[in-house]
């Protein structure tokens, strides 16, 4: 599609309220209609997913009086992958008196997102950030404290102020357990009906509005429909399209993809974040990648040998034969450059053949100089738990030899398109947390994912859902409705088809093949030729999957192979849209580097004249090209500038 075609596309209405940036949310809250307390209990709301966004939304909406039915595929809502977030949660409390403010958090987030996020959403996020901390502390989340009993903060991800609240390296766990406990309180009160081990298999739309879902009970295989007056998807990101990622094994795109196939637009799917400090791949059997907190770059120095194929032990390589490439290329930020730069440069040195370790796909992160300067005890106090984790996984002692690290897929900024009210283009379908696209632009800052999940669930949806329900006319529907029956039938048929193939390859073999292709062609660095090749190859892999996959067992019992097959089948469709999005975005921005859009020095070159916008894709059938819709991004408060870390 040429640029000329793009300009003719109809634009999407983000429904950003009028008024000054800092007044928009306050005014909007006042202008929105309320649902009478007595009427709230008449509305049934379905929440899919119980991570930070889903658990907090379920608890909050049920406290308001809505009938909430919450679904998760785990055996308990406390398992959602929000639990694995390590670093912390940002909030503009300015408890440190170091110059933080709502505006500064807003500004940093817009800039960090490389000017590809919506100003109004991001400002609202920064405003709400302070309420989140209050809420969590009241729930008993044990944040780190100072000796005076007040909350401690740290600087994170290169921010110039200390605004990150944390609970050691387990902040996500503690925040999720806080939201989970609020959810359990509401289950106990009879206000939330909880369905564990239920996976959403389809979204049901009646008269143009989201009116329910079809689920599969993972223990019994039962396919069932559930009606609703609104559906909230809080189903996380799609990083596992790459097969290897820091996501949990079960994280998937299925719920979002089913909604997309029913008409919801998928926005910026190519925006993925590659985290620079992960433990490298060690073998074909590898099932996932483990993140090491990026705080390690505060004291570790990143290097590779200067010579290609230098196989000496790192301690035998003298300093003048080492290339501290981040310090060399970015003298003012050095090892602390943002995630996207650190990741991309690791790839470059490995592409040059200077990678280290058995697979040559790793770089050193060396603490030798810090240990000499500060002493082993100081380093142990700062990173002891991380060093232990590294040693338990790799059997190598980072106090004595450098760590080996390599980038890994970590977070997906893209997601279902939503307006300012977090509603998708389908009426009554709301999307919260990582599953939507809205707040992080082309690159997410550290400690902002937890903030967004909880902002959406505790403080945004509670208002915007009410406004929707107060304004909409909903017919009463029953499970006998043709839309439910046909969706159930589709699900049954898909399952029966998968079970009847009895081919020669396992689900994981297909998933691995797809993942390698995506990592290679749609990963840290992308070009037109590679993306076109991926778009050609993905349908071939998909076809081969549907002809030759082996799914054992039956549908009427607990069947993990079938669960996985259903998820991978969706990744095999979604991946193509992701590559099309990457192909169409002919600029480098954030974590997305297009090789044909770079400066003479090899740095990312953004194209603000043509791409200050959101790409939202409309499904047009599995073998057809999706249709592109555009949302133009207006920057009225922050002037897009070039991020420089030299």
């Amino acid at each position: 599609m040429s640029q000329h075609d793009v300009s003719k596309r109809k634009t999407l209405d983000s429904k950003i309220p009028e008024g000054a940036l800092s007044e928009k949310w306050t005014q909007h809250k006042f202008n929105m209609k309320l649902v009478n307390p007595a009427n709230k209990r008449k509305y049934k709301v379905i929440v899919v997913g119980t991570g930070l966004a889903g658990a907090s939304a379920s608890a909050t909406l049920s406290e308001l009086g809505y009938q909430v039915h919450t679904f998760c595929f785990h055996d308990t809502p406390r398992r959602a992958h929000s639990i694995a977030a390590q670093g912390g949660i940002n909030a503009a409390k300015n408890y440190q008196n170091d110059g933080d403010s709502i505006y500064r958090l807003f500004y940093d987030t817009i800039k960090g997102g490389d000017f590809r996020a919506r100003e109004a959403n991001v400002h609202r996020l920064a405003e709400i950030s302070v309420n989140i901390i209050d809420q969590c502390v009241a729930q008993g989340v044990p944040f780190a404290r100072e000796y005076g009993g007040l909350l401690d903060n740290r600087s994170f991800g290169g921010a110039q102020v200390s605004r990150t609240f944390y609970a050691k390296g387990q902040t996500g766990q503690q925040l999720l357990l806080g939201a989970y406990s609020a959810l359990m309180k509401q289950v106990n009160a009879g206000a939330v009906t909880m369905y564990t081990e239920h996976e959403m298999m389809d979204l049901v739309i009646i008269d143009g509005k989201a009116r329910g879902i079809v689920t599969r009970n993972l223990k019994t295989g039962e396919i069932a429909s559930h009606t609703a007056d609104a559906v909230l998807l809080c189903t996380g990101g799609y990083g596992n399209v790459f097969y290897l990622s820091t996501n949990a094994m079960g994280s998937n795109v299925t719920a979002a993809w089913k909604a997309h196939k029913r008409g919801a637009y998928f926005a910026n799917p190519c925006y993925t974040q590659i985290h620079p400090t992960c433990i490298p791949v060690h073998g074909d059997y590898q099932s996932k990648l483990t993140l090491m907190s990026e705080s390690l770059r505060n004291d570790g120095r990143v290097w590779v040998p200067k010579k290609v194929g230098d196989d000496r032990h790192p301690s035998e390589i003298p300093d003048d034969e080492r290339d501290y490439y981040l310090e060399r290329k970015y003298p003012s930020f050095g090892n602390l450059v943002p995630r996207d730069l650190a990741s991309r440069n690791a790839k470059y040195v490995c592409d040059e053949g200077r990678g280290v370790g058995p697979t040559k796909l790793a770089v050193y992160l060396d603490f030798r100089d810090s240990i000499n300067r500060l002493g082993k005890d100081a380093i142990e106090a700062r990173y002891g738990n991380l060093f232990d984790m590294y040693q338990s996984i790799t059997d190598s002692n980072p106090y004595e030899e450098p760590m080996m690290i390599y980038p890994a897929v970590h977070y997906t900024m893209g997601g279902l398109w939503v307006d300012y009210n977090l509603m998708s283009n389908i009426e009554g379908l709301f999307v919260l947390g990582e599953a939507n696209f809205s707040d992080h632009g082309a690159n997410r800052l550290g400690a902002s994912a937890l903030m967004q999940g909880l902002a959406d669930g505790y403080f945004v949806i509670s208002y915007t859902l009410g406004n929707y329900l107060a304004n909409v006319d909903l017919n009463s529907i029953s499970l006998e409705n043709e839309s439910f029956l046909s969706a159930e039938k589709d699900v049954q048929e898909r399952i029966e088809r998968l079970l009847s193939i009895r081919g020669t390859k396992t689900v994981d073999e297909f998933h691995r093949e797809l993942g390698l292709l995506m990592w290679d062609k749609c990963g840290m660095s992308r070009n037109e030729e590679g993306l076109k090749e991926a778009i050609r190859r993905i349908p071939e892999i998909r076809k081969s999957f549907w002809n030759d996959v082996m799914v054992t067992g039956s549908n009427n019992s607990f069947n993990q192979t079938l669960e996985k097959a259903l998820r991978v089948a969706d990744f095999l469709e979604f991946a193509e849209t992701m590559c099309r999005d990457a192909l169409e975005r002919k600029e480098s921005c954030g974590g997305h580097f297009r090789e044909d859009s770079q400066t003479p020095e090899g740095e990312a070159l953004r194209n603000d004249t043509e791409f200050t916008n959101v790409f939202a894709w409309e499904f047009k059938g599995i073998d057809n090209k999706p249709e592109l819709h555009i949302e133009e991004l207006e920057f009225e408060n922050v002037q897009p500038s070039v991020r420089s870390y030299k």
Binding site: D75, H81, D134, A138, L177, S181, Y285, S557, T561
Partner: protein, 251 residues
């Protein structure tokens, strides 16, 4: 890179009401850098390729924090290494030719779903009985309005690290959930925010635990050994003290 072959003796059970049995498999040429669950992945790939049903086992994050994984390995919940979930156990902890016996966590309150997967919803119901501070969204005071002494905050965090994996139940000769429950009670009662509900909380949670069919504590301390997060049995002592006080006062 070292490769080993181990013999697996695995509990297979097709469903909650089916009869279970041990079955032997060989995990051949396993890289010692592979994790225990990756070894099971390799075995399962082989089974699926032959059209057989793979060994069902619970897992998700594979980084030791979600609490989904867990099985009894040679008689020990989560295997031979201390303070590690099963997903963080690596094959370098085993030698070529070893026999590894693999069973689900066994307890009356944790019925088997399939093979090594058990139903831990009873733990959710214990939390539902009172493992929270009742605070409505939006009603919280400023986060720094109530200072919390660092010592108390640190203890709350220490207890709050429980991942709900149920290894403590599996390791306990009485199949008691006391360690998990006491960790939640101590987490919340260490904080000023948790005080208003502290008496009722402990009574309700203990009552639910008994209702679910978990046993009582007889000070075996096996739970602490099995706990992948190193949660101390001192929290059980704290819970007992609180329970006694609450029970006396509520009479």
């Amino acid at each position: 890179m070292k490769k080993i072959t181990v013999k697996l003796v695995v509990w297979r059970q097709n469903g909650p009401d089916e009869k279970g049995f041990f079955k032997t498999y060989f995990a051949e040429n396993i890289d010692t850098d592979a994790s225990f669950l990756e070894m099971l992945d390799v075995v399962n790939e082989g089974l699926v390729k032959n059209g057989s049903e793979p060994i069902a086992f619970a897992h998700d994050c594979r980084e030791g924090i979600c609490g989904t994984c867990g099985a009894v390995v040679n008689g020990e919940a989560h295997g031979p290494r201390e303070k590690l979930t099963l997903c963080q156990l690596h094959m370098r902890s085993f030698s070529n030719g070893d026999t590894i016996v693999l069973e689900p966590f066994r307890a009356r309150a944790l019925p088997i779903v399939k093979d090594l997967v058990v139903d831990r919803s009873a733990l959710d119901r214990i939390v539902q009985a009172g493992g929270y501070i009742s605070v409505r969204t939006g009603s919280a005071p400023d986060a720094n309005a109530i200072p919390v002494p660092k010592k108390d905050a640190d203890q709350a965090f220490d207890a709050a690290q429980c991942i709900g994996c149920a290894a403590c139940v599996a390791a306990c000769p009485n199949a008691s959930a006391m360690l998990m429950m006491s960790a939640k009670v101590s987490h919340l009662s260490s904080l000023p925010q948790g005080q208003p509900e502290s008496k009722q909380r402990v009574l309700d949670m203990v009552s639910q635990m008994v209702k679910e069919g978990f046993g009582g504590c007889s000070n075996e301390y096996q739970c602490e050994v099995a706990c992948p997060k190193g949660i101390s049995v001192k929290y059980i002592a704290q819970l007992n003290r609180q329970y006694l006080l609450s029970a006396i006062k509520s009479e």
